[in-house]
């Protein structure tokens, strides 16, 4: 047993360690559990749920770009009802925190989803996706509108019995203003960042490589942008941050914590190295031992400028 304490808190949510699996990169947990022991990580954020099932966009949905990838899945998901009936049953078997990500097209739909899910004991918190770049209605438009972010946060908080995290869009000029709007409306934490809007063309057909024309850029290519956004929030708003964006190694994760994140999410890396969330645990312990850090949470916001 290591003497290093890896446990962290994100507002009222206590985690055994800061390692979370990001929404949209692990489905509802069953496939990734072939590669890792979900009991060992901090938690899992589900694929975005909407009130009704969503079929998602047609092919081509993904394309690789330099040190990253674009995706336009279109929030394909089973819907709240099916999630509660079948998907949650699998997740119940694990001693890990389940954070339910909700995406909707209207304030009413966010509220309705939260109402249906909040009674489920297995769910530890909600992450509200106000920033999906790949759906026509809602998504990015909410994420670009401070009043909308405030309104959604306020209404969801009214009906939620669990902590509420707001997942912010990086496709804005001052992300800290959005974090402030979320905080003032009662959010318990913010997740930063969602994907950056990007595109790629086939030079022979002159058509976009993905059907949706634009998609969300993720992977190592966005890590410096994500780190700067986390730092900006940390320096301007007193709210817990969950850092996300291009983490591919334990060193990347440590950088996010130094910049201000209380916990972090692994996303695109799960596609390439589906076992990294588990192998990273020991690396974090070794780092703490080497740096004489007794509690990993002390790393949060410990940057020296």
């Amino acid at each position: 047993m290591s003497a290093v304490d890896l446990s962290v808190s994100v507002g009222p949510l206590k985690l055994r360690n800061p390692i979370l699996l990001a929404s949209g990169t692990v489905g509802y947990g069953n496939e990734i559990s072939e590669f890792i022991d979900l009991n060992k990580i901090g938690g899992i954020v589900t694929k975005s749920l909407s009130l009704k099932p969503r079929k998602g966009n047609s092919s081509q949905r993904v394309v690789e770009t330099p040190s990253g990838m674009l995706n336009a899945i279109g929030l394909a998901n089973v819907g709240v009802e099916e999630f509660l009936k079948t998907k949650i049953q699998f997740l119940k078997k694990f001693d890990t925190k389940i954070i339910c990500n909700i995406a909707a097209s209207s304030v009413e739909e966010y509220v309705e989803c939260t109402k249906l899910l909040t009674g489920e004991d297995t769910i530890s918190a909600f992450e509200i996706n106000v920033s999906c770049p790949n759906v026509k209605e809602g998504g990015l438009e909410f994420g670009n509108d401070k009043k909308a972010v405030a309104k959604i946060t306020e209404e969801v908080k009214k009906v939620s019995t669990k902590p509420v995290f707001i997942k912010l869009s990086p496709n804005v000029s001052r992300i800290s203003e959005f974090a402030l709007a979320a905080k003032e409306s009662g959010a318990d934490a913010v997740s930063a960042i969602n994907t950056l809007v990007g595109t790629a063309f086939d030079i022979f057909s002159r058509k976009p490589k993905i059907k949706n024309i634009t998609g969300g850029l993720s992977g190592p290519a966005i890590k410096p942008v994500a780190l700067a956004k986390v730092l900006e929030i940390k320096q301007n708003v007193d709210i817990p941050i969950i850092g996300i964006g291009g983490i591919f190694s334990w060193q990347d994760a440590v950088e996010f914590m130094i910049a201000g994140a209380s916990a972090f999410q692994l996303g695109t890396v799960n596609f390439v190295h589906p076992n990294i969330s588990e192998t990273m645990i020991n690396d974090l312990i070794l780092y703490c031992e080497k740096m004489k850090i007794s509690s990993l949470k002390n790393l949060t916001g410990s940057f020296i400028l």
Partner: protein, 255 residues
């Protein structure tokens, strides 16, 4: 499914731009089925970032082989692998071909590098006593792959070798030979070819399975990047990586 550090045994060029990579991994070799694929991280760097999916071409003891044409940044790296190097492989993934069915003769229809999964399938079909006929097509003579195929007929778009036309037209020209036999078709190739093969099978009411391809990020169902329209449920996409890559022709609508 496993993550394995597979050891490179050999890289062999078998055609103008066609290569075989033989890898050693007892776990993957022991569990592989014809039509399944492996997802390979070709480099240790972020270039390329994502794994690349390849059909399992054949299995022999602790070894398995993949066949590829060197077309992009991923395959270029693979082509240069040296004996003794290790490669990060995930597999075996997806649903392969079903050998079941009411048939005595298997007709293999391959378009270009679509020949890749068939050596393994042919070996397994022979084990259960099925007759094998192979049709292989390509743009020119150099694009037709016949590696480990049996009773092969060739079709080339430019007529530089064999039948002049595409491989489905070749199949159409030969199909009457088998009118008194129970047949099953196994196809793999570009989407346009598979679509035409699918139509052919519908018209003639022939049992068939096709191996499809798609760009994908993960290869095991979590990224949702490889949808294909279900033929039975308008509101549903199937995933090439998890529900496929092999489908019964009746189950999907190709783009």
């Amino acid at each position: 499914m496993f993550l394995a550090n597979a050891k490179v045994d050999s890289v062999t060029q078998i055609g103008t731009n066609v290569f075989l990579l033989k890898l050693q991994s007892d776990k993957i070799a022991a569990n592989a089925k014809p039509g399944q694929f492996v997802n390979i991280k070709v480099s240790n760097s972020n270039f390329p970032l994502l794994r690349r999916p390849f059909s399992i071409c054949n299995v022999e003891g602790d070894y398995f082989t993949i066949m590829f044409t060197s077309v992009g940044e991923g395959t270029l790296v693979l082509q240069k692998k040296q004996k003794g190097e290790f490669v990060d492989v995930m597999g075996s993934a997806g649903n392969g071909f079903s050998l079941d069915g009411n048939y005595e003769k298997a007709i293999i229809v391959a378009g270009g590098i679509g020949a890749a999964p068939f050596p393994f399938l042919i070996k397994e079909l022979e084990k259960i006593g099925k007759g094998i006929i192979c049709l292989s097509g390509g743009r020119t003579k150099n694009d037709c792959i016949t590696y480990e195929m049996k009773n092969v007929s060739i079709a080339t778009d430019d007529g530089s070798f064999g039948f002049k036309g595409n491989v489905v037209e070749l199949l159409s020209s030969q199909i009457d030979r088998y009118k008194n036999e129970r047949i099953k078709i196994f196809g793999c190739g570009p989407n346009a070819m598979l679509k035409s093969l699918q139509q052919f099978c519908f018209t003639r009411n022939i049992e068939a399975e096709i191996s499809t391809e798609s760009s994908m990020a993960c290869g095991f169902g979590i990224c949702q990047g490889c949808p294909v329209q279900s033929a039975t449920d308008k509101n549903k996409f199937l995933l090439v990586c998890k529900d496929g890559p092999v489908f019964n022709v009746k189950d999907i609508e190709l783009p």
